[in-house]
Symmetry: C2
Subunit: 226 residues, 2 copies
């Protein structure tokens, strides 16, 4: 499983920085392969690159800095993926759907990065991953903009765009993270699941002809199902 060591040739004079890239790439691959952040040990990464452990310290102050750099890459990749999904889509509600689909897809394709970014402990590196960075990575600002646009166009019931974006994020994250955390649960097919979740967001569960405060009128109208 852990390849012994490919033995990396020494870089030429001015090209020392290439090792930094190689380390990050190896760490990224290691994370995807093993699926556990704990697999990112300095020794394992050095092995994967084909270099001795102390070499890591030529480019990173300590292990934390390395892991943060790996995460930062994933954050960027995530944001790019989301942005690509809404390229040229004018309709705000449609943009929200596209971003949500891209969000889940990214999460399922990169479960470990997703886990570290959005399901990990807030303690490690909380300072580094500031609110703005996180908001950017998960496309929050773009969802917020789309929600505001939909509200302005009179498409949404709610009038608080920030709350709406938060709810959408919660919903999509809920589906994504449960699929990642409990893969053996008998979930619906991912597409069905996501489509249903988005439909839930858009249209809700209750019948349109029902009273909206059900506790006031218990089981009075037994509407027959279509």
């Amino acid at each position: 499983m852990t390849a012994p060591a490919p033995a990396r040739p020494r870089a030429r004079r001015g090209e020392g920085d290439r090792l930094r890239e190689d380390i990050l790439a190896a760490a990224e691959r290691l994370l995807l392969d093993t699926g556990r952040e704990s697999a990112l040990s300095v020794r394992a990464i050095a092995d994967a690159v084909g270099v001795s452990p102390p070499s890591i310290y030529l480019h990173f102050a300590d292990r934390d800095e390395l892991v943060l750099a790996v995460c930062e890459r994933h954050f960027q990749a995530f944001e790019e993926c989301l942005l690509a999904a809404i390229q040229g889509v004018a309709d705000p509600v449609q943009r929200i759907r596209r971003m949500s689909e891209a969000y889940i897809r990214f999460g399922l394709e990169h479960p470990e990065p997703y886990r570290i970014m959005f399901m990990g402990s807030p303690v490690d590196g909380a300072e580094e991953f500031s609110q703005e960075k996180l908001a950017a990575a998960c496309g929050f600002d773009h969802v917020l903009a789309a929600v505001q646009e939909a509200i302005d166009a009179g498409r949404f019931r709610i009038d608080d765009a920030f709350l709406g974006a938060t709810l959408l994020w919660s919903t999509v994250h809920g589906v994504t993270s449960l699929l990642i955390a409990k893969p053996w649960f008998p979930w619906p097919e991912p597409e069905v699941h996501l489509a249903a979740a988005l439909d839930l967001c858009e249209r809700g569960l209750l019948r349109l002809d029902q009273p909206q405060k059900p506790e006031k009128a218990k089981k009075t109208t037994k509407a027959k199902r279509p």
Copy 2:
């Protein structure tokens, strides 16, 4: 932070099993205090109980068995908490609300157990925490029953109770787990957040007078907001 050692008196002849309980209790407290599963080392637990590390092995085969036992306790506590919340509530939609509120409350009050139970890696102890146990713990069956009841009463748009219960779980888990994972994000107040999420589930985002497939009619009707 880590209290050195309270020094536990040796149990009397037939009461060896009391140590097992003490170990579990100490581990539970340790988990709540530190907020990290990695804090549950055999040595740390032994220290907290006031006993030597090998004593742990009188009652647990290895560390994994211990951690699983701790989790099992939390699973039970969670289920009891959810059941208590719907005690005597007849209306199914109301039951769903009550369970959701209890779910989030439990999650926020016991973030680390919640993290381990529902946000952790599926690898460790996946066999032990079978689908049925998980479903029981998170009250899935009770939500499922409530959804089915609501469907039978003609209260819900959907007709697939399992899908509905899954969506509710996803939604509530989404809010809970994001609050736990990203506590420094400028979330709405938890009650507002949850209420909005449940309202979202029930009634959706879109205006009721809007076409349901917005991609077919882009920005045609600029309904003015109330």
